[in-house]
Symmetry: C2
Subunit: 545 residues, 2 copies
């Protein structure tokens, strides 16, 4: 097996399993760039290993419909046209997604049923089984291979009272555990967190109380894919005689889709267009909105900044942020909360109220999984490296032979044989950055240039070269992001004079453009650093006229 | 009073108190820029209000020696040459700092004694009192004014068993509370956190156990200013027959300074130069290092990346990160932990072991402060806006009249009179960014240009203008951070041709440089966006030859 994403990082989950002539792939996710990450739109896995073996890839098997498990499909399928198998809700989400990307239209996407065995090539037979997670229809995979049974948990937690009543199929896992499992891949996201993840029931009660107690309008921000949370908000609204209005395009789309597919129960008349809520007294209104991660263009952030077209914060508003910041988003979320408070709203968030539980099992749940499955080999998946290490230690404590526990990172090729397992090689699995219509890998000069430009800006030195005699005339200097124009006036005058003298003094220099450019770059760098203690990028351009 | 920094943000604490003809300033701190923040070195408060009234500013009063309370002095004192009064350790730190900055040498810095009243002008008399915090000699201020007593807690927590045995002077606070306090400024950093902050004793025990149990070498990373933590590590090392070596310049400097001033007790022979530790078996070595915040150039990060000159991670190493990530540093710290684990170290950190307590009081301690001081007016200080709001609510719950609680932000002028208080105006207090030898404020074009450059790079379009007939000849195009050169070749050729045609078609255009530049910018922007879906910064330059 080869993890191509999601090991040693959170996001862009993807893993290849290879046996004989067959390859299957589990999940195909994206990662979102950190705030202000050099203009990168999305990050996807590197599939060069799979493209070279495309004829042997039988299918992509999807565990659930989150972006970090399905989001790369539109970009990968055009280069790896294989069928996709997914649980029903994920199937719906993928279909919508592929429609939006012309290159990926026409891909074959099949909806699977849990408990049914699907054959992929000679060597794989996969059965999906239910798990609990923060989106309906989340599943794990039991994959029968000639060497033995492989279990992949997908993202999971153990919740005995989930909103949709569909609990994790512990009996299925226990049965396989009793029959013998060759290898377990298990979700490591919360392997550092002691105890159990609280049930969604607790959040439901807290939301109900908060909405019931609120003196005026309530806004609830959550993930647009967290359908169980929307259900809880809708139930609480109804109980307290409030109408619900949806704010933010992805919230509207997802509620409609989930309701149409039967994953969300909407009491008649509970939803109201935003405009009509203005006729209601505030204490009869709940707004369900996107923006729980402080995403700059989301509805909640625009509301917090006072520049949303339709919604302004009013005295008496209560805002509930029903989510936890994803690592890296802490400052964005914190700024959003501050701005809502500045506008006079009451704000409930994870630090001050029990308005969110996450979708991943904590340490006691991970132990339960290991105890039920009793795997011969164990590979922790989904998590930063430290999460994988913490999970590996847990498995060791529970009696898995340490020589059969493998902490892998993206690209590591683990080979299992009847004698045991070992990492035999590493294949390319670095991040691929989507940027407009093209892509970069980590080595890209473009990204390192952008990083440099963001520090001290750019200074362009233009040397018009007088063609007849080959002598350069006085250089022209422009800049951006370096210093304010009043400061640069005198500075650039001096630099231009200095460069002019330099070129006049050495007439042979101009004969070689490369030499001129190197000399100009060095001279300008030294001059500017001495005068300003800054190191802008310097671009010399020789223009022949 | 006017907060000039530290309200609605963490860092660069500074506050002005004005009465009659006198102004005094409490603290003068810096803020550190977020990771990759556009080349900014440091952020300092805007003191234009004070500079306009420089003759009336009597002194800057320092509460303790942390950078967010003293770090701006070298940059502010040259523009506001007033005496500085500080507790002994802060005095030492400030003196070292001012020596390093030529412009600030010769400033008058006085060491104060707690419990002694110092007079500043006609209207202020200040007495420092001890508090507990994560640096020795941390103090609050009791400032007698004609209107009544003002108490400023500085940064504080209530620890009955601190490492240096010097507890917070609760009796002093209670006495003033009984006599009547006009106004309390109190630290809000942890106003969201329920309960009590654990005593440093607990960390001491955990460190002792961890160092005692470690099979090999131990590295402890902490803040270079957290002298009590160094003391705990040194004590534990001695108890377990280990020598301590210091790694990282600021760690060496601070240990030497603290030992020389009597704030750190070093058993004879406990310190060993790094080189000599190589002769010892690993289980007799403790390295005390900087880098607990994942700072890219720190010792621990270089060790984690395997590029430290003297220290490599060995099997059996235990690394203890005795700190909590400051908001915004989470990803840096997380990457450091991952890299240490990858190299085979055991890593103990705040999520998995009790190896750190922070320096600020939690909600129960804040309540204790409010109960003892029983202020007539209350202003929460030091914190993001949501921390200030949470603290204000606490004060309300404890019976402070809500009309006398003021949630202020930097620049708000609160005027207190015998009738009560109100915010009468707002003065400039935006952040000032230090960048090389000059400064920017938030409105700076330089910073917004850098942000733009970091997204999609820059494209420079050079139009040589043939002087005799005024016609521009074919443009020359260069770029950086936009796309890789093989991709731009054909693209820029097409763009140059398009621009050439544009200029040839409209001979009048060239008569006005401004028109040419606008037209070129618009055309290039549209062309490049359509072809690449990117929006680089476009710099047109007309060069007359």
């Amino acid at each position: 097996m080869i993890p191509l994403g999601g090991l040693g990082e959170i996001g862009k989950n993807m893993m290849a399993l290879e046996c004989g002539d067959d390859i299957i792939v589990v999940d195909c996710g994206v990662q979102f760039p950190e705030e202000g990450m050099l203009g990168v739109d999305l990050i996807i896995p590197d599939i060069s290993y799979l493209r070279e073996r495309a004829a042997r890839v039988r299918a992509i098997l999807i565990t659930h419909g989150h972006e970090d498990h399905i989001g790369a499909l539109p970009f990968i399928l055009p280069h790896l046209p294989v069928p996709v198998y997914a649980p029903k809700l994920a199937h719906g989400l993928i279909s919508v997604k592929l429609q939006e990307h012309r290159a990926a239209r026409g891909a074959q996407v099949e909806a699977i049923e849990p408990g049914v065995a699907y054959r992929f090539g000679e060597n794989f037979q996969a059965t999906w089984f239910r798990v609990c997670h923060s989106i309906p229809d989340a599943m794990g995979l039991a994959i029968a291979t000639p060497l033995g049974m492989v279990i992949h948990t997908g993202d999971f937690k153990i919740d005995h009272t989930p909103v949709d009543g569909r609990t994790i199929d512990l009996a299925f896992l226990a049965r396989h555990g009793a029959e013998g499992v060759l290898l377990l891949f298990s979700d490591s996201t919360y392997a550092e967190v002691p105890g159990y993840t609280l049930s969604e029931q607790v959040v439901g009660e807290a939301l109900d109380r908060a909405i019931g107690d609120a003196p005026g309008r309530v806004m609830v921000a959550t993930f647009a894919s967290l359908i169980s949370r929307m259900q809880q908000v809708i139930q609480a609204a109804q109980r307290h005689h409030r109408k619900v209005s949806l704010v933010g395009r992805s919230m509207v789309d997802n509620v409609n889709m989930a309701a149409a597919m039967g994953y969300l129960t909407l009491p008649p008349g509970i939803l109201l267009p935003l405009r009509e809520t203005r006729q209601l007294p505030p204490e009869e209104v709940v707004l369900l909105t996107t923006g729980s991660q402080g995403e700059p263009t989301s509805a909640l952030v625009r509301i917090a900044n006072g520049d949303h077209r339709d919604v302004r914060v009013m005295a008496g508003d209560t805002v509930i942020i029903s989510a936890t910041p994803i690592p890296g988003n802490e400052l964005l979320v914190s700024r959003t909360i501050d701005n809502l408070l500045r506008q006079g709203a009451e704000v409930l968030y994870d630090r001050t109220a029990l308005v969110h539980v996450h979708g991943h099992g904590s340490r006691e749940e991970l132990k339960m999984m290991l105890s039920l499955v009793r795997p011969r080999h164990f590979v922790p998946v989904h998590g930063e490296y430290r999460h994988l290490v913490a999970h590996a230690k847990l498995a060791w404590e529970l009696g898995v032979d340490p020589s059969r526990i493998f902490v892998l990172e993206d690209g590591d090729v683990l080979e299992l044989s009847p004698d045991g397992g070992k990492v035999v090689e590493t294949v390319p699995a670095g991040p691929i950055y989507l940027d407009g219509l093209s892509t970069h890998d980590t080595g890209s000069q473009v990204l390192s240039d952008r990083r440099a430009l963001s520090k001290d800006g750019v200074v362009v030195v233009i040397l018009p070269l007088d063609q007849p005699n080959g002598h350069p005339v006085k250089p022209r200097i422009v800049s951006s992001g370096f210093m304010d124009p009043p400061e640069t006036g005198q500075l650039f005058l001096e630099l231009a004079e200095g460069l002019g003298r330099l070129l006049a003094d050495d007439p042979t220099l101009a004969l070689h453009q490369e030499n001129v450019m190197t000399k100009v770059r060095e001279t300008a760098r030294e001059f500017l650093y001495n005068k300003t203690r800054r190191q802008p990028m310097i671009i010399p351009v020789v223009v022949e006229v």
